[in-house]
Amino acid sequence: MLEIDNLVAGYGGVPVLRDINAKMAAGEIVGLLGANNAGKTTLINALSGMVKPISGRILFLGEDISKLTPQARVELGIVQVPEGRLVFPEMSIRENLLLGGINAHARKHRPQQMEKVIGLFPRLGERLTQSAGSLSGGEQQMLAIGRGLMAEAKLLMLDEPSLGLSPLFVQYIFEIIDKLHADGLTILLVEQNLNLTLRHAKRCYVLERGQVAVEGDAETVKNDPRTRSAYLGL
């Protein structure tokens, strides 16, 4: 489904990512791990189009998308749930969700999609008219994921969904992620939380200083000594 080919990307011509090669099959749940500054968010931003590649290619469903604008990629079904639960605080929950489905492709099925999302997060359904800014951190994370689902994502990229949440909410969010995976959604999970990710993702990539340090299935990554050194920066 997704293929990253010798990708070099960064800000203002200065590369942060160097020679990234990665692959994702449809329906897979893949973890992207690494310490702070390893380049996880830059990679996810390069996939969603917010960071322009310097060289290399990104193929989605066989098509080179590396030159497409962010909105064209959303249209294709590549949807990012940005780090830090960036909801629109002054709008209601309903408005936030509806705005998730503004691309031409998703717009047609907004009512059905809305019901699905509410079915997944009943807590949001109970407070549709409440302003998003009044929600707790965990509820905002639900809303951010729900908004991403409204776009009819084929590839959902979650940037640090556990960040700043209470353990109970983290567990809940990961149950939702498992449920989405079981429904056949392809998920890229960007996380700092090593053990949590290894428990839910079948395969993982570990980034270190902008390069892939370790890759493989969860068990391999867990036992590879380079994973630990990538985290501790040794």
Binding site: L86, P89, N103
Partner: protein, 331 residues
């Protein structure tokens, strides 16, 4: 989302307010009609600025440029080339729209932050005033004097006092209605996502460049049209009034005091502050020069301290309390 706009169009309160406003010239003395006309100029300007500054959250200080093009350029076209002012109004509005699009594109292309955007737009405004002052075609530093307003509608004349008031009333109503229309349309929602968080807006697939340009072009064209109407009312095209960044500061102030990003906020701010400033100046300007600025300043500062989001939200809260609980605010 659009229903709200049609509801406004069909609202008896709206039309009632317009009719009451329209009979004001028969009730008030010409001095107060003049003050109200000025207030309406600023209602129109602050409302047009609100599309960019309030809804999209982009504090543009370039609006004196658009007002200046609408006024100085259309005046010059009439006086120097004999071009009818209606046509001048259209030409100026198109040029303002193009300039607005260029500014919005620069903002997007170079990913300007809030402060850089403010400074770049201010630089554009300063450039505009230098060009006007240095170019004789546009009247240079001494300005341009338009022919007397004889009420010839085809020549963009409205017959002075009363006619100018009604024309401004119509323009102000249009600018406010455009605000209501945009706020209740998808464009309004997209602009607010850009204001709240550009990154999240991108993540849901909002075409940031397109909507930034759309907002800026609408706003710039409206400001330019108001500029043409304003200079016709003033008869004298004064570069130090019409293309000075000071006029933008006033607009931003009125919009902020009234309520940024709200359909009626900027109008409310202008309707309260312009008469306040004029009346204070009229009463105190000759006895204690400068005192009116002092009082005006204190009023503005108190409003911003008491209700940072503007007077409109404050009035709504008071209204809700008076009506009892369970009355939600409007968007």
């Amino acid at each position: 989302m659009r229903d709200e706009f049609y509801k406004t169009l069909a609202s008896p309160i709206w039309w009632g307010a317009l009719v009451i406003a329209a009979i004001m010239p028969f009730v008030l003395s010409s001095y107060y009609v003049h003050i109200l006309t000025l207030a309406l100029v600023y209602v129109a300007l602050a409302s047009s600025w609100n599309i960019v500054g309030g809804m999209a959250g982009q504090i543009s200080l370039a609006h004196s440029l658009f007002i200046g093009i609408g006024s100085m350029f259309s005046a010059a076209l009439l006086l120097k080339l004999g071009i009818n002012m209606w046509l001048g109004l259209v030409i100026s509005a198109v040029i303002s729209g193009i300039l607005g699009a260029v500014i919005a594109w620069i903002d997007f292309r170079f990913q300007l932050g809030h402060l850089s955007f403010v400074l770049i737009t201010l630089a554009f405004a300063e450039m505009g005033s230098i060009v006007v002052e240095g170019w004789d075609f546009l009247g240079g530093a001494s300005g341009l004097l338009l022919p007397k307003d004889t009420g010839n509608f085809l020549a963009f004349q409205f017959g002075g006092g009363h006619g100018a008031f009604w024309m401004m009333l119509a323009l102000a109503a249009i600018c406010v209605l455009v605000n209501v229309a945009i706020l209740n349309s998808p464009l309004g929602y997209y602009l607010r996502t850009i204001r709240d968080n550009e990154k999240a807006a991108q993540a849901i697939g909002v075409n940031i460049l397109r909507y930034k340009i759309t907002a800026m072009v609408i706003s710039a064209m409206l400001a330019s049209v108001v500029g043409t109407a304003y200079v016709r009312y003033l008869t004298f095209a004064d570069p130090y009034l019409l293309i000075s960044p000071v006029i933008t500061i006033e607009i931003v102030l009125f919009a902020t005091v009234g309520g940024l990003g709200r359909a009626y906020g900027p109008a409310l701010g202008a309707l309260l502050l312009v008469p306040l400033g004029e009346i204070l100046r009229g009463k105190l300007g000759s006895t204690l020069p400068g005192l009116h600025y002092f009082i005006y300043g204190i009023v503005v500062i108190s409003v911003i301290l008491v209700t940072p989001r503007g007077l409109l939200p404050l009035f709504e809260r008071l209204w809700a309390r008076w009506r009892g609980p369970a009355v939600a605010g409007k968007p």
